[in-house]
């Protein structure tokens, strides 16, 4: 585990086209508050740092409506914060997910070994976590509120897919 110089790390990837984007400004403010919190109370692994950088890149790319060309809403500050908390909750033995976004405004996390072995998770502004897993013929999906703790069923599904 390493301690992160959070403000320096994040400011290098956080460059919203404000003031045009109110969402960007709002997220930026919240991120600064979160950074202060984390700096005083947490140390994180390198994978966390990388994931947070990816998340901020996704937020930048999706901070304006219609970022997908099909009319998607911008990713909200609430969704960003929940996604950051989700990253924080990922157990350290799980590989870093690919982070993205879907047209419904969810931030998404994906662990995949092939198209037929994949776990896809979306987290929405309401705090709902929606997942779907395909492992050959075996399929599994569900929703749950995200309460800050990584779900044990999700943990098992990810390892089944990546095994």
């Amino acid at each position: 585990m390493i301690a992160i110089d959070f403000p320096a790390t994040m400011s290098s990837v956080w460059d919203f086209p404000s003031p045009e984007s109110r969402v960007g400004v709002e997220i930026h403010q919240k991120l600064s508050e979160m950074a202060a919190d984390f700096r005083s109370t947490w140390t994180h692994g390198e994978h966390w740092n990388t994931a947070m950088s990816d998340l901020t890149e996704v937020a930048k790319e999706c901070c304006q409506p219609n970022w997908d060309g099909y009319g998607a809403p911008a990713i909200s500050a609430d969704t960003f914060m929940l996604a950051a908390s989700f990253i924080e909750s990922i157990p350290s033995d799980i590989p870093q997910p690919e982070i993205g976004a879907s047209s419904d405004g969810d931030v998404t996390f994906e662990w995949a070994q092939s198209p037929y072995r994949v776990v896809s998770v979306g987290i929405s502004s309401s705090g709902g976590l929606h997942f779907a897993s395909l492992n050959g013929q075996k399929r599994c999906f569900g929703s749950m509120p995200f309460d800050g703790v990584f779900d044990s069923r999700l943990y098992s599904l990810i390892w089944e897919v990546l095994a």
Partner: protein, 135 residues
């Protein structure tokens, strides 16, 4: 192709394409389309194009037309090709309306929750082939 106001169904073996306008909806290294490309929103139908019978050089202009319609500066990165039957396996429907030409919608999502939509998107993505503009 419409019969009056009624959209035409597309045969199971017909090829359809979802044009990819966001770079995180595919992975170049593993040539994989991501499920996010098939999550419907804000409408509960997913926009695709019918490409059956078209050559490669005839397909891309359809994607460029999709981009040209958008007021924002979006980029056409590629497309996800699949058979209409792969969609129907998920209890969804492909309805061609030809507005614009060769356009169709994947419909039938409305009864699904977000988790079920994601499951269907995972399976549709798995059945898709990634074709990039710069291939």
């Amino acid at each position: 192709m419409m019969e009056g106001d009624k959209p035409l169904k597309v045969a199971n073996d017909e090829r359809i394409s979802r044009f990819l306008l966001f770079s995180r909806w595919f992975t170049r290294q593993t040539r994989r389309v991501k499920p996010d490309a098939f999550i419907p929103h804000p409408r509960i139908e997913l926009s695709v194009s019918c490409i059956d019978g078209l050559s490669e050089s005839e397909v891309w202009p359809l994607g460029k037309a999709v981009v040209a319609e958008r007021p924002d500066n979006v980029t056409l990165y590629g497309r996800a090709d699949l058979a209409a039957g792969s969609v129907r396996k998920q209890r969804l429907e492909v309805e061609r309306n030809d507005i614009p030409p060769r356009h169709a919608n994947i419909t039938g999502w409305s009864s699904d929750g977000k988790d079920a939509q994601r499951m269907k998107a995972v399976e549709i993505a798995a059945a898709s082939t990634l074709i990039l503009v710069d291939d």
